[in-house]
Symmetry: C2
């Protein structure tokens, strides 16, 4: 068996290294070259930058890094639909902000409270049910909801170049994790199918849950109480809590990812930090320093100062979404 | 390549199924038969009990299930040594319980407060340093500390039959997780080496951490504030938080594991729940309903009522520790 095992191992190694371009949707510009150079460096046994397989941890932000986040975080569209669905059970929302504005169709008014207000709406519309019930609600919503601009299902508005990057890293022994400010249980029902990332490799913001026996069956009830905000300084905390190892590569697009990239960069010699810069107003959206969603300002300054890789979506990506290829 | 890949896949499949007994330290009694029957059932494609690989989640308690827990939780021995090491910096401990008793050598007096008091001591001695510093302290302690009865390093006091079970499950596509009341960062420095379980598959009790830039470097500081107690009803909560899927198999030894087993059993058709019953006062320790550590009472009643598997350590295990085999 050992000889056959060796043949098989060599065969697969050869397959990987001789395979066609693993990043076909990336132009041959600096970011692609930097990614490939980093991966080849850390997988090369005997090299000073070699990283053993178990330590090849790569963390990805979700909103604006793996899928789009304009004109609002997609989870917020879900929350709006939930507000409408739940309004009959919550008469108090008629006079209570930000719900009152939402129910009048004034999304901008509700958004005035910023990201914190958004999170509040999300929490208020995501609780009082079991984890199993919530999972089904998310799945049902994704099956029918459409993005207001593209009229596509939200799970089709993922970035093709990033799907290729996830697969490329995994083919080289990396474990890929999501580390998002979005709700952990909003992402888990679909990340395995869409990104190849199973629930246990998804880290996000969360509310508290409580174990109960209901009708003789053990369930977890979602409580209207914040547990953890996985954003900014929370991202390294979430990474430590869920992974217990510092990533060797981190991918983000906003100041919400700044500390995750700092934490990753400080881990040792061969480290890789990348920011997706939204520069394509035609195929996607163009925004950075002045955007209320996905603001990229301080992290962009540090990326330039430290030589982190910055993807210029307009010039570095051949396609944005998978459906463009069809 | 496809043909070779197929040959390789078949070759390895055959290796697994024709391999020698994967559980050689288990007697051919009911528990071993139940384990093998369960595994063969869920991995058989086309069977009504078939479970796809990504959903083959198995969760293991640690203290008393994977390694010993007498005469005290091993982490508590670590905490005692930390109390002695830190006492000069904490003059207030001389008059403050439970530290005062500990410093006088009166462990029983300190233990009077029960598991909560233990946790308090653990927390007080585990904070104020960075996560990286704590990891090193744990490693240094494990390298020299010896168990008071066997005079063996603590990491040698793991159960050989359970090591075989972990490997057997992983060889059949299971993901093995630890779900322990012990400190998550006390376990992670050594679980990969000892159990083959990497840090990201370790769930435990935790304190809060805070992201800081110290001397220009990003670190996580361990705060003297409880974050989560991963015990009893906390275990299903921790499982949901870290794994996001209900286990199909769960392994414990005490009432602290009761809700984890209930939660697992309620998940569907093919589910497996096992309790390690400490019945071997000669080779290990004999304790159950009246023990202050690892009390097994209500869970044992439910195991008997529901037909969960109960391991009688004395009669079902050929050896307890790996060093007995040498």
């Amino acid at each position: 068996m050992f000889a056959l095992a060796l043949v098989c191992a060599l065969a697969f190694t050869t397959t990987v290294s001789l395979a066609a371009d693993p990043l076909p949707s990336w132009n041959d510009t600096a970011p692609k070259k930097a990614i490939v150079a980093f991966v080849e460096k850390v997988i090369k046994e005997g090299s000073p930058d070699f990283v053993p397989v178990p330590e090849r941890i790569a963390t990805f932000d979700n909103d604006g890094t793996l899928w789009a986040e304009q004109p609002m975080y997609f989870q917020f569209f879900f929350a709006l639909d939930r507000v409408k669905a739940l309004a009959p059970q919550h008469p108090e929302w008629k006079t209570k902000e930000p719900f009152a504005s939402l129910l009048k169709g004034d999304v901008q008014g509700a958004l005035a409270g910023g990201e914190r207000a958004m999170l509040e709406i999300v929490m208020a519309t995501h609780t009082g049910i079991t984890t199993t019930e919530f999972e089904q609600i998310v799945k049902d919503w994704l099956a029918t909801a459409k993005h207001p601009k593209t009229n596509r299902p939200y799970t089709e508005m993922v970035y093709q170049p990033m799907l290729e990057l996830l697969a490329y890293l995994r083919a080289n022994g990396f474990k890929t994790f999501i580390v998002s400010g979005g709700g952990i249980e909003f992402m888990r029902p679909w990340t395995e199918k869409v990104y190849g990332i199973p629930p246990e490799r998804v880290i996000g913001s969360s509310i508290k849950t409580r174990f109960e026996i209901r009708d003789g069956k053990p369930v977890l009830v979602r409580l209207p109480e914040l547990n953890f905000i996985d954003d900014k300084t929370g991202k390294p905390v979430g990474i430590n809590s869920h992974i217990g190892r510092r990533p060797i590569a981190a991918f983000g697009n906003s100041d919400g990812d700044h500390q995750m990239l700092q934490y990753t960069a400080a881990g040792g010699a061969a480290r890789f930090c990348l920011l997706v810069h939204h520069t394509d107003g035609e195929r996607e959206w163009a925004y950075d320093r002045n955007s209320s969603i996905g603001r990229l300002d301080k992290a962009l300054d540090e990326a330039q100062a430290k030589g982190w890789t910055v993807v210029d979506m307009k010039n570095d990506w051949k396609v944005i979404y998978p459906f463009e290829k069809r």
